[in-house]
Amino acid sequence: MSNKSKELVQKENAVQAIIVVDTFDDEFLPLSNDIPHALLPLVNKPIIDYTLEFLSLGGIEETFLFCCTHIDAIKQHINKCVENAEEWTQTMKVNVVVSESCRSFGDCLRDLDAKGYLRGDFVLVEPGTISNINLLPLLEKHNKITKIDKGAAMTLIFQESGLGHISRCPKEEVLMATNSSGRVLFHKKLGTTRERKIEFPLEIFLENSTVSLRHNLKDTHISICSPAVLPLFSDNFDFQTRDDFVRGLLMNEEILGMTVYSNVLKGGQFGGAVTNWRTYQTLSHELKNNYVYPVQPSQKHNSFLKNDVIAGQNATISKSAKLNNVIMGDNVKIGENVDISNSFIFSNTKVEDNVTISLSIVGPNCLVKEKSKILAGTVLGKGVQIEKECFVEDALVQSTRPDELDSRDVLGKHAFRLVLDDNEPEDVVDLALARKLSRLHIDQNLGEESEDDGFSESEDERSSYTHSPAPDDTKLFFTEVIDSLTRGFEDKLQCDNLILEINSSRYAYNVTVKEVNFFVIKAILIMSLRQPMGPQYFSQLQRLLQYFVPILKNYLRNESAMLDCLQAVEDVATSNENLTEKWVMFVLQYFYDKDHVTEDAILKWYSTLDKKSNFHAQVKPFTDWLQEAEEASSSEDE
């Protein structure tokens, strides 16, 4: 280090940057066990290479690479780059700073503060950043701001990005208010909050003549920092991430006397970071489409085939393989009749004949044996072997046996399903939701859907769409059914046509018959709930049901369908106190009277109910009556 610091003194005015390479989260499990985040191949080039290339092109002369895990691998990689005289090594000096004790982004910066390497304004880059921004003008601008506002600590760099763009990771949705000079007055990441309303402090409107509220931004994960940033991290031990820092500064503006500015990129300038699989996917897509020009995947290394397929060196692909939007690493072998779409296959992996892979990530050195199916958001770790005719869906699979293992999670000798333990129970929903949001982007049309949702929901003052679970297929189907029925009822459409409509959506979203029955009934009940809960509620519901009789007749044909119907009633009722207490009896009575459900079905369903629940209590009188009636009738018969 002494040698290095001597050189530092020589280059007094070098423009400096800090890269923190560890993410401190488990987004990339199980792959992150074997490959550090920085070396994860993105279009067959380690992410860190893009970052370094960007920094060198951006005018940075000295970079501190801060790493806490996989230190050897990263050091080795950097040394290799220097040996190969990669372009960036020519204009930029990279120092690897190591500290194994750091547990968060904030810790890293505190450590750096203690070491005191940085002299002036610097660029702070979060893990996985890829960009083509020219940093020098931004640094200059920041410098100008600090001349006017002595307390300016940080300039956040954002990129304009339209609503519904796939690059907008729902987890990273940002809402920001700035004044005319770009000072950030309000900054909130919407992705992980559960609040339904966002409250702006009144002061920001009172104290500023103009305030712009922006929601069309994408965080580039790049920020320009004043020297004051590191000491601020040291002084405030609760700052774990950059967002904590921004929040803390805004909250304690008066106390700390520090401000944050923002800068929005326009034109060909691009920035983004690989923070989870979804951003991994979108950044691959954008690299492929040259959005990050002149930072590009290696042209020599990759061959670009048709259908958006990219293959590394020595890839063997059979002629009969159907590939669509796939990125493959080096030495990948693809067998006959393989069907791969929207997926990533890492190096040295072999895919045998008749395998289907879609929307998944297959790690390096894997073997997928004949006729297997790997679907929807699966991630295979390094060296996993999937056995013949295996079916894997939406799972994280690793090759080594985890400590605690459920027998269900064994998929093969070298394949174990990884279940992430979520420690804090109250957060379970949040975590599960966050995970869903960070998975691969499933449907190309989804972007639009969620955009529409975003509008309608905010208008209705219901929850923002970022809170609802990621719209999966059944959920989409359900909203479609509600839409069809509502429209049908309002416009007095023929029920036969509505049935056709529902059936076609059913095939579009690949929903089972049972789910169709369930959702149709649920939809009708939900519609009825839109009415005021007064005494006229039931008559309103009756009108609805009356109108939809042909539909009910069509779907409720046998006992299992009736059970589905009753489950729907239960489902809606348990989520709505009013309905449970007042109306559930009447609803059941109605269904029974009109012969939509049989007595047997009701009793069978009733026996499955939780005896202690409020709902059970509400239903009991009705079923009791039914049983009595039956006994009576049977005795009459005798």
Partner: protein, 345 residues
């Protein structure tokens, strides 16, 4: 390993080009010449062979890092030829360039040995290079002074985008004659706007039209005068994207297409080779369809090629500081500019 140190200047050049500190080919050409001159005068080389190897290394490195950048490598390639010539002069030996004649007459004994150390070589090389530098510096003016020979009074000239050379050429013509210039705006960067503004400032009657109007306007145009990025070995062009369609429209109306080019833009490369990716670059589509356009970007693929290949039959004349040449004569210019052994490195 001295390898890295040798290339440090070239590295600086490459990063300057990449960071857009050097933009025009003229700047790059001058800078490259300076670097090689410094290399010759300061570096401790023993004989011509060593020096040539050094420069060849620079060329290779340059083509690897900037496959589309022909100017810097061409300058270096020309200097290689200069070294060979000076060596012959100083050592009073002659070598034949590869030809049928040489094939028949060559004597295996008179292959030049470049490893012979020569005392005067360095001085004469530096002399020659300073001449060459003057040639580079005056190239633009030399080309511009020919304007009056090619442009006549009241002619309508069509040009595209922005080129310093074309601008100077037209301004020079306008000094003596009244001309009318039509500028294509050249989407998506719209550099034509700036060009038109500059011409208008020099009191030239200027009209700006969208790229799509080129065919409609061509019937009234007398001459098309354009710059180019590179002139290929077969007389074709690697020019800004959109030039091919202009050349085709000109062909349709039999309008002569004149290409202004410095000598260092003539390159011994062809358009069709398996290293095809190196021919064109796809720039960021953000200029075509802004990144903020939203969900549409999820569905479309936007291409923004930087270059066009224009076949030689669509070019009427190249104007360099040596005068006008037909495309079929390019091979000859190349053999004058570079030694044949240095064509492919």
């Amino acid at each position: 390993m001295t390898h890295k140190e040798d290339l440090s200047d070239i590295n600086k050049l490459i990063s300057d080009i990449k960071q857009k500190k050097l933009i025009t080919s003229y700047e790059i050409a001058l800078k490259t010449e300076e670097i090689v001159e410094a290399l010759i005068s300061k570096r401790n080389w023993k004989h011509a062979d060593e020096l040539m190897d050094l420069i060849k290394l620079c060329i290779k490195f340059c083509t690897e890092c900037l496959p589309q950048e022909a100017t810097a490598t061409n300058i270096m390639r020309h200097i290689l030829k200069v070294i060979r010539e000076e060596f012959e002069v100083v050592s009073k030996k002659k070598t034949e360039i590869q030809s049928l004649h040489q094939l028949v007459t060559a004597n295996p004994n008179d292959v030049l040995d470049y490893t012979t150390p020569l005392k005067d070589l360095k001085m004469s090389l530096l002399d020659h290079l300073s001449e060459y530098k003057v040639e580079l510096e005056t190239s633009t003016d030399n080309i511009a002074t020919q304007a009056a020979e090619h442009i006549h009074t009241n002619e309508i000239i069509l040009t595209v985008g922005k080129s310093n050379l074309v601008e100077k050429f037209l301004k020079n013509a306008a000094k003596k004659r009244s001309i009318n210039v039509i500028v294509l705006e050249q989407a998506p960067l719209y550099q034509g706007h700036e060009m038109a503004a500059r011409l208008a400032k020099a009191n030239i009657q200027t009209t700006i039209i969208p790229d799509s109007a080129v065919f409609a306007m061509m019937s009234r145009v007398n001459k098309v005068i354009i710059g180019t990025h590179t002139v290929l070995a077969n007389g074709g062009l690697r020019a800004a994207s959109g030039v091919h369609s202009i050349a085709l429209a000109a062909k349709r109306y039999s309008v002569p297409v004149m290409v202004l080019s410095h000598m260092y833009k003539f390159s011994p490369i062809y358009s069709a080779s398996h290293k095809q990716e190196a021919f064109n670059v796809m720039a960021s589509p953000a200029n075509v369809l802004p990144y903020s356009s939203g969900p549409i970007l999820n569905k479309v693929q936007v291409l923004n090629p930087v270059f066009d290949y224009v076949p030689p039959e669509l070019v009427t004349l190249f104007i360099s500081h040596q005068g006008g040449n037909a495309p079929s004569y390019v091979y000859r210019l190349l053999s004058e500019l570079y030694h044949q052994d240095d064509y492919y490195l």
